[in-house]
Symmetry: C2
Subunit: 414 residues, 2 copies
């Protein structure tokens, strides 16, 4: 079953807003076993909306449309759908009465403006009329079309709660059994990953994709089939073969990220982490605390951006800073030792470097980074030369720090 | 001049990777005065690539294609273009000799695999043959088609350095003079912004768009015209009118963000900032240090995730924590006072709250957040109840903290 996704909005076609909703929809539909014919993004122009919708209906089995359903003047999807499919708009009385009932809760917006939300193309079935979220389904030419709001949180909610269940009752046998694994790889270039995979001589039914997602490489393995058994066996043996050639460069799978993997390793070993960061300015702490429950293994950190912070909070002597500089092996180690002592953590990570664009020197150019780990037994410092702009250097520094912790925990704290 | 953008890659249509390149291209092309007909995303399937390309050529004046140009086995764009436009692939000898010369620098990849990069559809003109980046231009049916790599950094570089200059010499008089301003608004709901703008009764030649970008609302004002004078006058008077009805809810314009605006205010007033954060876990520090040059006004911060960190680094007494809890008016104030004293900053920001998903209680549900500001003269604490998931609560907490600093600096430190 092929699905086409259409996103509507001038904010998207002028590049002011990044389209995240189409990607979310594609991932969820793909993982549920549908094929994505394509994703189309067009502006708030009724004639283009109509044309795109009719074209999608001519080549796909179902269509998902997002955006342009709101109550402001630039929301034109319903008008366009009405014209293109020859379905006059009519008021949905459940939505209408809901708007009127909740009106006093909603701000001072005049009734007329909000009531626009209740006028839908004829035949439309509202997805969640009680919820104050726009969104409806139309069956046209025997194909389901779903219209969802462009606001990512609402769109995601309705897709998962309404669209996926409704789709699953539609042409049930047209879905393919899909086995997919993403191998998340750090510290191995894309071409080297490709070279190693090529040596495996995998079956042509195994679809491999390579995706550099700075600073990582993601390898996607997909086997799709109507006959479960063969596909599953092929999937398992291929996964195993890939594991053999890539080794511990694979840090995780599917939706893992480095900070989640590090978190699990710390929990397993009953260890607590603290961080001192300079050039990354809080990025490592933020990544770690993105994960719910991180307070179980993360105590906190010091963002010692100014030298005075390094002295006051990490006990780094002005003499050391003067002798070696803030970006040095000695300072990195002292930062890790300092935060470990102050926080009482079992293991501490510290980074100091030149993220740029200014601040580089001949001896320590932009991209020079020192990463230190301190434990009760020993301290390590590793020097890196990263390339790229400020954002890239900060990102790869943060991931390299987390990956060093991962490898330390795997190798030294079995 | 209408341009259609096509992005190619199974990683995009299966939602594994977010398409950021099309949005970047759309923004740059739009701002250079072109109209974007639409953005199309399709998988690595030669027949679909060919169909999309031919369709785009039939309705747009120029086409930009990204993705599928690399040397790994899943890169199929050149093959598809060759078939669809009936242009056999041929080796580009400049690229070929460049690959052979640089080969020893590049890893252990076999020559044959890399040489795939040099085989282009006939008539292709390589954009940057010396650079080791794929990318070329084709003129077909008198229309320019640009093919760029899907890797964002390479695609962005070639778009700005090669595509925009080449396009600007093509049908020069078809570009529209574009006046655009984005008003960046915090702390005012989208519908209220819409309501206030409606009272202005702006000319129909002024295009207004409303975009909720959590937790902000962005209002876009566009005037496009071939006659410079009228458009410019209309643009200026409309901007002024909008400023009057939205006041200081407008924190900035165009590509400003809250942390940049706060940075400028601090520099103007010769003040230095330090931050203590709990539930945001480093997010505020990271935002501030995203801005190059932030070391001029930002000393650093403490991510006091565990209570032991609050005690050790911020001097918060266990008695206070026991009496009021980590999420309280008293703790927020003590955190701000503590980081201000320890860092020597002029002004300090502290946040503590329940970001969820767990940790909420009846008295302090998920979303309860206290934000404190401390200065030499006085301290303020503000209590908030935010809604949404962990990511939303962290984001709106960080922005609310920055906005409080902004308003404090504007109102109290003129």
């Amino acid at each position: 079953m092929k699905i086409e996704i259409i996103a509507i909005g001038d904010e998207l076609t002028s590049g002011r807003i990044l389209n995240t909703t189409s990607s979310f929809a594609a991932r969820n539909l793909f993982e549920a076993g549908y094929e994505i014919y394509g994703m189309n993004t067009i502006g708030d122009t009724p004639s283009l909306i109509g044309e795109a919708l009719k074209q999608a209906l001519s080549r796909a089995d179902a269509v998902l449309v997002t955006g342009g359903l709101g109550s402001t003047d630039d929301d034109l999807t319903n008008e366009a759908v009405s014209k293109a499919l020859n379905r006059p708009t009519m008021p949905n009385f459940e939505i209408l009465s809901n708007i009127r009932t909740h009106l006093d809760e909603i701000t001072s917006t005049p009734v007329g403006q909000l009531e626009k939300l209740a006028w839908l193309p004829s035949g439309a079935e509202a997805l969640s009329p009680q919820s104050q979220m726009a969104g409806y389904q139309l069956i046209h030419d025997d194909k389901p079309i779903f219209f969802l709001p462009g606001i990512p949180s609402q769109m995601k909610h309705l897709l998962v709660e309404q669209v996926l269940p409704k789709l699953s009752t539609w042409q049930k046998d047209h879905r393919l059994t899909t086995y997919q694994r993403i191998f998340r790889i750090f510290n191995l270039p894309e071409m080297e990953v490709n070279r190693r995979i090529t040596t495996l001589d995998l079956s042509p039914d195994v679809h491999i994709g390579y995706y550099p997602v700075f600073p990582e490489v993601h390898l996607s393995l997909i086997v799709r089939d109507k006959k479960n058994n063969n596909a599953k066996r092929l999937f398992n043996s291929s996964c195993q073969a890939i594991g053999t050639v890539l080794g511990d460069s694979i840090y995780g799978y599917d939706r893992d990220n480095l900070e989640m993997v590090v978190g699990k390793l710390l929990i397993d070993r009953h260890l607590q982490l603290a961080v001192a960061e300079s050039c990354t300015g809080g990025l490592i702490c933020r990544k770690i605390t993105d994960t719910p429950g991180s307070s179980a293994y993360f105590l906190g950190g010091i963002v010692s951006y100014a030298n005075s912070m390094k002295a006051h909070y990490l006990g780094i002597s002005p003499k050391l800073l003067l002798a070696h500089g803030a970006v040095s092996r000695e300072t990195a180690e002292a930062m890790a030792v300092g935060i470990r002592a102050g926080s009482g953590a079992d293991i501490a990570l510290a980074v100091t470097g030149v993220a740029g664009p200014s601040g580089g020197t001949k001896v320590k150019p932009v991209g020079t980074v020192y990463i230190a780990i301190a434990t009760a037994e020993e301290n390590w410092v590793t020097k890196f030369h990263f390339r790229g702009d400020r954002e890239h250097i900060r990102e790869i520094t943060a991931e390299s720090g987390l990956d060093l912790i991962r490898k330390y925990l795997l190798q030294k704290v079995g």
